[in-house]
Amino acid sequence: MPEVIADPGAAPTTGREPLLELHGISKYFGGVRALHEVDLELFRGEVVGLVGDNGAGKSTLVKVISGVEHPDTGELRVRGEAVRLETPRGAQAAGIHTVYQDLSLCDNLDAVRNLFLGQELAGSVLRGRPLDRHRMETQARALLDSLSVKVRSLSAPVGGLSGGQRQGIAIARALVSDPSLVLLDEPTAALGVSQRAEVLELIVRLRAQDRGVLVISHDLKDIQEVADRVVVMRLGSKVAEFRRGHYGSGDLVAAITGADESSPNPGGNR
């Protein structure tokens, strides 16, 4: 049972149209029910935390929003308009940028090319869209520095970079475009202490720029720190929603593990 359902009328987002609305989204993989009738709203200038146990369906939800996976049922609205996001390209056109849990980098390309993948700074069509390598490099360095990501060579294939460096590049990509909604799937998992702080900083900055942010993390402390609203998923369903200040860590853990419910864990192995 949802424990605290945010009442949009009372929220700080009062009267504003949601940037993103999901209604009754379900998704099956063969026999596995990854998402079950999930509803979600996200407003401009708001950070929503998405938490849940491993395999709860968080990444699947993100993939549905970013056009990678297609929901079996349900409806998706961007700025009030029902859309069918057929491809990630479509989602990007709708202003949605995603940092995926698996990073989705091209290991054979260097850091600069990965950073600007699909949004290269290029010349006119007439000249065959020549890359402005110099400007891209300069910007890349600035972006990575702003996240404290240290990459020794910007022109070496990212396949050889460390886990944290790779994650840093994936996150920095969100800064290249100008999205109205940013989805971050466990953005800090592989990051060092200072990089992690920079990313939390970044999230706050994105909110200040009036963008919507959906962030997934297993670090409840981080979530409590940055999220205006926390949505909890369990076994594919949304089970709870908390607003900042109206919950404690215990509430979150209880909702994640389903400890408060009398029924035994309906999932588990087999």
Partner: protein
Amino acid sequence: MSVDQSPVTAAAAPGQPSTPLRSRIAGGFSGPYRSIPVLIVLALIWLYFYSQNSAYLTSANITNLSLQIVTTAILALGVVFVLLVGEIDLSSAMLSGVAATVTAQLAVKSEWPLWLAVLGGVVVGLLFVFVEALVIVFGVPSLIVTLGGMVVLQGLLLVVLPPEFTINVGGTDFAEIASTRIPAGWSLALAAAGWLVFCAVRLSRHRARGTAAAPTALVSVGVSALVSGVVIFGVVVVLTQDRGLPLPVLILVSMLLVGSYFTTQTRYGSHLYAVGGNREAAQRAGIPVARMVVYSFLVLGACSAVAGVVEASRLLAVSNSSGGGPLMLNAIAAAVVGGASLFGGRGTVWAALLGALVIGSINNGVQLLGMSTEVQSFATGGVLILAVAIDVVITRGSLLPNRR
């Protein structure tokens, strides 16, 4: 904002079943059930050609077909092993010619006993692929090694052939490999034995699960026993109509069964798939990757020698054109049509049989219709692509391409 976004016209109805059929189908055709779509495609091909010429499904033509595909299928079996570990091969068809020539030399000219001569051919096949595999393991791409190997084998074929460049094996023991027919009685007995073993294994597996085994599992054992029984006996009855079961078919089936056992039930098979799926990970898990690559090439070598011997026995001769022609590409295509991936780690040994059947059925049917050469080309190429396209559609359960 873009064509990719369109307003939802028919919003999903709320009352839908909990697991949509489509996802269930798509999920169901992965893994061991991957063969089902190919079988459907095969049925469509057969139906089509039968509707064009009813001679297509006579037992005589089915026997024809089975003999026409045996060589391709045996070679494709070897190719599947090599594809599984993420390598490719271009030399095995030529190798089959060389191995067959060596066998023919030994059997016909040097008058060795047939089994020893065949063994000689197999040894030649194994030696050659062993050298190739060593070079591949050293780090040279398999495409280059086997392409170079193919060129070398073209020369080798001229060397092992006698000066008159052909050995006619008609009328010798060698010719009997392809012409031997196992009488219906024996064939049925063999089939029955095989089927009983299959059922016994399934049942004992079921028992091994012990108390955890649900009654539904028992039902599934029963169903699979029934289905396999119908298929096995049906095929044997059809193939024995025409003077008995051809020996090459039995050879092919035995090789497939052994291959299937090793790839699915043993440690060795597990490692093959691991090497093809993620070579780095397999190596880190302590799997001797190089050795697995060599093993799979050795299987290819053995298969190609057997394929060459069967083909020579069917053609009653070896010559400097042995192993040439479209055999190599057909074998690779058969493996891929059957579901093996060029990128490694996907496919079963049955891919070899199914793919060869699809390709062979198309060739057989097209030729039966007696069209002109040009039209035959169009039909052969077109139907092949169409067949795989239908397979793709059924497998993913949707007409729409993977959105990219």
